[in-house]
């Protein structure tokens, strides 16, 4: 992707090609001609590609660190327990790709074939794609502005050879920005089943999650429901429960009532998560959640 000026107004904005910051940009003439206002042809290409994908679920949260990637990995593994179901897990957190580490796939590389990029298979029926597989070192920082991140997401959706998939789970970064707009935009023609929104019980998370719910409504993305993660902590030593993140404002339950969104369930804080890679984790409380 070519570098865009730092103050790029966006190819689809009214100022495209006309702003002061457009001077000298290699795409200036293209934008000024109004070409940016036409729909991206990739949207139709992605629609074709997604014809072999039955269900698409986004895992969102306005808040960082609530367990989106952990939940996405558990959901993917849980669905993949049925060997006849083909699962794809796509990590579009370009700056902070956690999925390779959580899935025990660090160091894996992506291979190209005639039909596109091959996902990394952790099981026969569970394929994974992340920018983490494209980095030469785990310390490599992806210091990209919005347009370049959008280009990567477009490639993930258009150029990865997912094959026949029953469920595509898309793990997202926190926030309501380029990555979220892009994945909704690029999948617009391909129909997204909906979003699962992750939160933790405390208000500092809920206030960001309310924004995320409003984002979903703004872009007409159906909300499957909310999962309250880190909901209670059972001490491994004394077995007593305490609240590390107390739901002082009613937690996800009250928020879901207020905003008329389903509460799918609660998952407790498990100190084992974060210590062991997923493949060593024998029990998943989310499996009960998935079956509900």
């Amino acid at each position: 992707m070519e570098e865009v000026p730092h103050d790029c107004p966006g190819a689809d904005s009214a100022q495209a090609g006309r702003g002061a910051s457009c001077q000298g940009c290699p795409n200036q003439r293209l934008c000024a001609s109004g070409a940016g206002a036409t729909p991206d042809p990739a949207i139709e290409e992605i629609k074709e590609k997604m014809k072999t994908v039955k269900h698409k679920i986004l895992v969102l949260s306005g808040k960082g660190g609530v367990g989106k990637s952990t939940f996405s990995a558990h959901l993917a593994h849980g669905l993949a327990e049925d060997e006849n179901t083909q699962i794809a897990l796509l990590d579009i957190d370009i700056c902070g790709p956690s999925i390779p580490k959580i899935m025990g796939l660090e160091g894996e590389q992506v291979h190209q074939s005639g039909s596109g990029w091959s996902p990394v298979y952790v099981e026969d029926n569970l394929g994974v794609m992340s920018v983490g597989f494209l980095l030469s070192s785990p310390d490599d920082a992806v210091i990209w502005r919005g347009p370049k991140k959008n280009g990567m997401i477009k490639q993930f959706l258009r150029d990865v050879d997912w094959g026949e998939v029953d469920y595509l789970i898309v793990d997202t970064p926190p926030g309501t920005s380029d990555e979220h707009l892009s994945v909704v935009q690029y999948l617009a023609a391909a129909h997204i089943d909906g979003a699962v929104i992750i939160t933790t019980p405390q208000e500092v998370s809920l206030q960001d999650v309310r924004k995320e719910i409003n984002f979903c409504r703004k872009v007409k993305l159906p909300i499957i429901g909310v999962v309250e993660n880190m909901s209670g902590f059972i001490c491994p030593k004394c077995k007593k429960e305490s609240q590390i993140f107390p739901p002082t404002t009613g937690g996800a339950e009250l928020m879901c009532q207020d905003l008329e969104v389903p509460l799918l369930g609660r998952v407790p804080l498990d100190p084992l998560i974060g210590i062991q890679e997923f493949c060593n984790l024998h029990q998943s409380k989310e499996e009960n959640l998935i079956s509900s």
């Binding site: 730092h6 103050d7 790029c8 966006g10 306005g62 808040k63 960082g64 660190g65 609530v66 990637s69 370009i94 700056c95 902070g96 956690s98 580490k101 959580i102 785990p138 310390d139 490599d140 920082a141 992806v142 210091i143 990209w144 502005r145 919005g146 347009p147 970064p173 926190p174 926030g175 309501t176 920005s177 380029d178 979220h180 405390q202 208000e203 500092v204 206030q207 960001d208 309310r210 924004k211 719910i213 409003n214 984002f215 703004k218 902590f233 001490c235 491994p236 030593k237 004394c238 007593k240 305490s242 609240q243 590390i244 993140f245 107390p246 002082t248 100190p271 998560i273 974060g274 210590i275």
Partner: protein, 250 residues
């Protein structure tokens, strides 16, 4: 390095960024507690919240619903007290409704961050603490570019012990190196849990310890959570003492 133009940051003595590649490790909490500790030490402090999608600082300091007013030098920051010892700017103050989502692409976020740096009348400050969102993208690049002429003191990088946090933080350290931002130290947050019934640590790899061998002699400061610490996320954070760090000038 270009000299700072006389502008709204000319009266700010030291600028500290609080970064983490990882979300949810406690950047906003640490930013808030750092500011309160500096105020406790008699300093005049400003907090600039450049997390445009998830602005947490107003609620942590009990300042939700406050409005930003214009003054002759630009926007007046929100003052928390009559003495004006802590001032604050956040996109949270510019939203019509608290649950309104800021759904902006990079260029628009960059423009607002530039305004926050150039158009907020911070006045005379000993410290400006800049709270950032997770990642290494538009907000971070815009903030560093806008602040560069004012020679920030450096960055505090926040992590938690889990491997997924450490992975993102190592990328953040690379980002700091590439952008020429000095790392003052790493804070390992949530590094132990004091169960109210007994004492237990959630354990895991010691994230802060993974860095020193590779990146140099950083000060690693532990910050264990306990059920009492969660109220930091409720309106009005409690003051906590901040251990002295060799990186912070007195």
């Amino acid at each position: 390095m270009e000299a700072a133009e006389p502008g709204n940051l000319a009266g700010v003595r030291h600028i500290i960024l609080v970064l983490s590649g990882k979300g949810g490790v406690g950047k906003s909490t640490i930013s808030t507690e750092l500011a309160l500790a500096l105020r406790h030490a008699g300093k005049k402090v400003g907090i600039l919240d450049v997390d445009l999608c998830g602005p947490s600082i107003p609620r942590m300091l009990g300042a939700q619903g406050r409005a930003v007013h214009q003054c002759d030098r630009g926007w007046a920051p929100v003052f928390l007290d009559r003495e004006q010892s802590i001032s604050l700017m956040s996109v949270g103050f510019l939203l019509e409704k608290p649950d309104e989502a800021v759904v902006w692409r990079g260029p628009k976020k960059n423009a607002l961050i530039k305004q926050f740096v150039s158009d907020v009348a911070w006045g005379e400050l000993d410290y400006l603490v800049v709270d950032t969102p997770p990642g290494t993208s538009d907000e971070h690049m815009a903030t560093i570019e806008a602040l560069r002429p004012y020679q920030p003191l450096g960055a505090l990088v926040v992590t938690t012990p889990q491997a997924v946090s450490v992975g993102d933080v190592r990328r953040e350290l690379t980002f700091c190196r590439k952008t020429g931002l000095r790392v003052m130290g790493i804070v390992e947050n949530m590094s132990g849990f004091t169960c109210p019934h007994c004492t237990v640590s959630p354990g895991g790899c010691r994230g802060g310890e993974a860095a020193p061998g590779r990146w140099g002699p950083w000060a690693v400061l532990g910050s264990p959570p306990s059920p009492r610490s969660a109220p930091a996320s409720s309106p009005g954070a409690a003051e906590r003492s901040w251990p002295s760090s060799p990186g912070c000038p007195s």
